[in-house]
Symmetry: C2
């Protein structure tokens, strides 16, 4: 069985551990109501923020089109742009900065707390995310995620799926790459982890992009594990 000797489980966070789309939409709706903002489709706002700020921003950093910057900066840059496009460039700076940190306050999927509590019995558990260290620390505290430590891309100066991130995480934990199992709902993350020598577990998160959007396509290649959620993964791993 591949990954049978895993000692640490490393978790992708946005979409795999937490429901970014639902949390940002809900907090956005409340924020918009309070400030009387003319934004009526907050789920669409959340999705555009994620696609254009985070995903496109990381891609530009990885291609060398933007200097290294963390996800707080990428989110903030895109939020400013999206507010300006809607005629809201003059909102108080502290309001915008606070809303930009909604990504530090994301809520976990329903199975996560119980699943992590079980997985923690048998493994070192840690996030390994493109989020920055402060964001992941604050998010873990907000959501009471029982991490043993926090691993973040700014420790390595690289974004996933660069191999430096996966190999750097294993090295910090004092483990060989093959003693780490990457857990993610995204095929490209798992392909990067596998190329770096880690074991891989695909977790289904069909609602990440909303009930109306297609789920992540089935992985084109077999991974070491495939689980419906973290409780299923805990069962498979015997914890």
């Amino acid at each position: 069985m591949p990954a049978a000797n895993a000692k640490a489980l490393l978790f992708d966070v946005f979409g795999t551990v937490v429901d970014w789309r639902g949390t940002v939409a809900r907090e956005g709706e409340a924020w918009g109501r309070r400030l009387g903002l003319a934004i009526d489709d907050w789920p669409a706002f959340a999705e555009a923020w994620r696609r254009e700020g985070y995903l496109a921003g990381i891609a530009r950093v990885r291609r060398g089109e933007l200097p290294w910057q963390d996800v707080d900066a990428l989110h903030g840059r895109q939020l400013d742009k999206m507010l300006a496009e809607r005629g809201l460039a003059d909102l108080p700076e502290a309001e915008v900065a606070r809303f930009n940190r909604v990504w530090h306050r994301l809520e976990p999927w329903p199975d996560v707390l119980a699943g992590l509590a079980r997985l923690k019995r048998g493994y070192v558990i840690a996030p390994l995310s493109n989020g920055n260290f402060a964001l992941l620390t604050n998010l873990g505290k907000h959501a009471a995620l029982p991490w043993d430590c926090v691993l973040a891309c700014d420790l390595f100066g690289h974004y996933k799926p660069d191999p430096e991130v996966y190999q750097g995480a294993a090295r910090l934990l004092g483990l060989a790459p093959g003693e780490c199992l990457m857990v993610a709902a995204h095929t490209n993350d798992l392909l990067g982890a596998r190329a770096a020598g880690l074991g891989t577990a695909f977790v289904e998160r069909p609602l990440e992009w909303g009930a109306g959007s297609p789920p992540e396509p089935s992985p084109p290649v077999p991974f070491d594990r495939r689980a419906r959620d973290f409780l299923d993964l805990a069962g498979q791993l015997g914890t």
Copy 2:
């Protein structure tokens, strides 16, 4: 009140959070009995290991006399030396490697778990130790320390009391140095933290060097807080 705006509490670990002397002596006694080793004073063995391996080793790295190496390596080097001096150079390698990792299995002082649980309610809590990331992660898991994240000197390539360690920790947390409070039983650590702009809390650990040894001398300068233990600190901080 200085440090009144602290958002994170950073803890020295060896001696402040855990009783290295008691744990190493107890585990050494059991190990020596099992292997029939002719070592009769394990508390003295633990103290020499700490002084000559860890404290002297870090000092040599900081002076540039040794290349950068982590505490696992410094401990291992000294353990090999001490065993050889006692005619025990031929012990099985796996036995020696496992005993070297006793520093990953240290036990907390009696007030620590209850104290950290209270302090965690109001602050980000993290170790900030000269121990390496893997050691601190394993130690936290072993002792069920409820850290929000792990901060270790190998993230910065410097040992305390170099300012890079304290300032690097604040930067990773997204905080100003003055928003961090360093908690330690050692004056030199707190002097380093204060020079780097952090708040400081001195905690008494009179038994660190054993009941027969004098405690850490009273700090020669005032720190922001002075507490008998972590419960007293929690009371002072209102958590």
